[in-house]
């Protein structure tokens, strides 16, 4: 059978997909935040990021806010998170990875989160010189 095609999540997904605080993977965890940028360097205010801590089987979802920022609370000792990016203007969600350790395991320099005083920072760039690496899926 042919798989059903993807369509954009559109601008109004939050009424259906964001009815609870889904951004906490670990209540005792640390902050993982970042900004989703478009090809002009503008923040994407109607985007959504889903992350999956496969080792601990913990999932989270965060919409981007008025500054294009997303937030999660994640296990401080997680090595890597699988991630999907959704947005108006994306015909299909994009898959990437967020490495919380700079241990040489990252597939690309754009996939390594930066440590901050209280957690991690990971920006996503859809295009441009700092464009994030996405995986075919």
């Amino acid at each position: 059978m042919t798989t059903t095609p993807s369509q954009t999540v559109g601008p109004f997904y939050s009424i259906g997909l964001c009815r609870q605080s889904d951004d906490v993977l670990d209540p005792e965890g640390v902050e993982l935040s970042g900004t989703l940028f478009d090809g002009r360097g503008d923040p994407i205010r109607d985007g959504m990021v889903e992350v999956w801590d496969a080792a601990a089987e913990r999932w989270g979802r965060s919409t981007t806010d008025g500054e294009g920022r997303f937030h999660f609370r994640v296990r401080p000792d997680a090595d890597v998170l699988e991630a999907f990016v959704f947005a108006r203007g994306l015909l299909r969600h994009q898959r990437t990875r967020i490495h919380l350790r700079d241990d040489g395991a990252a597939e690309d320099a754009t996939l390594v989160a930066r440590r901050t005083a209280d957690g991690f920072l990971f920006d996503l760039h859809m295009q441009g010189e700092r464009a994030t690496l996405f995986f075919a899926h």
Partner: protein
């Protein structure tokens, strides 16, 4: 989704959009600055077989599958049921899949602060629902038929009536966000989002089937729509 785009021309390609970028569709303007510009990387093999999140019954409230009963009064509009199966591409049902939906009201207005379409909001309609597929992979929603609505993509742009669907299967890769359309919509040829699926046969997979057999007499019209996700290694193991 390969093959030439054979549908009617939605918009002349606008030179100001610049060269087409990957997974971009020129008629849908927002893709221009949002589609990934780097070539997609091949995923490491072991990452094709990750289990995904499992959502149990605790994720679902008692009225989550009936969008007509979430307020004190009934929403205005044509009452419909939308049901179908979530299958893998071998035709096997995917049980316990989380299906989330959202939609405009009968007038084509979303219950969302960003929606400025000057059509009335319906105080009895939020337009969101969720359910888990049953043992046969079936989902079912009761709702009202959404209206078409204008959007700013190009002059006189209108979206055909649609319901947004989000589905989680069992594996992390079994993740789909898409839109379900209604049969015979006159706006199909003019909608760049619908036509961004360039293979006409694949576009047909986005259109529900009117189903007289499951229509409830004196109550609601029925539409049937199956969702097919790629197979994963897990279904065999769980049989």
């Amino acid at each position: 989704m390969t093959g030439p785009y054979e549908g009617p021309v939605v918009l002349p390609d606008d030179p100001s959009l610049g060269p087409e970028v990957q997974v971009d569709f020129p008629g849908y303007r927002s893709t221009r600055w949002r589609a990934p510009s780097r070539p997609l990387e091949t995923l490491p093999e072991e990452l094709h077989s990750l289990r995904g999140p499992v959502f149990g019954g605790s994720a679902i409230g008692p009225l989550d599958d009936d969008l007509t009963r979430q307020h004190d009064g009934e929403p205005i509009g044509e009452r419909i049921t939308v049901s179908g199966r979530v299958l893998d591409d071998d035709g096997r049902p995917i049980r316990g899949a989380l299906v989330e939906v959202w939609q405009a009201n009968a007038c084509g207005r979303y219950h969302h602060e960003v929606d400025r379409h000057p059509a009335p909001l319906d105080p009895n309609f939020s337009g969101a629902g969720r359910c888990l597929t049953n043992e046969d992979g079936r989902y079912r929603f009761t709702t009202i038929k959404p209206g078409a609505y204008p959007w700013g993509n190009h002059p006189n742009a209108w979206r055909p009536a649609h319901i947004h669907f989000s589905v989680f299967g069992r594996a992390f890769e079994q993740r789909l966000v898409t839109q379900m359309y209604f049969p015979g919509d006159p706006l199909f040829p003019y909608d760049p989002i619908f036509n961004a699926v360039r293979d006409p046969k694949a576009r047909e997979l986005l259109i529900a089937r009117f189903d007289l057999a499951t229509t409830q007499p004196e109550w609601s019209l029925a539409f049937e729509w199956d969702i097919v996700m790629r197979s994963t290694p897990f279904e065999d193991a769980d049989e």
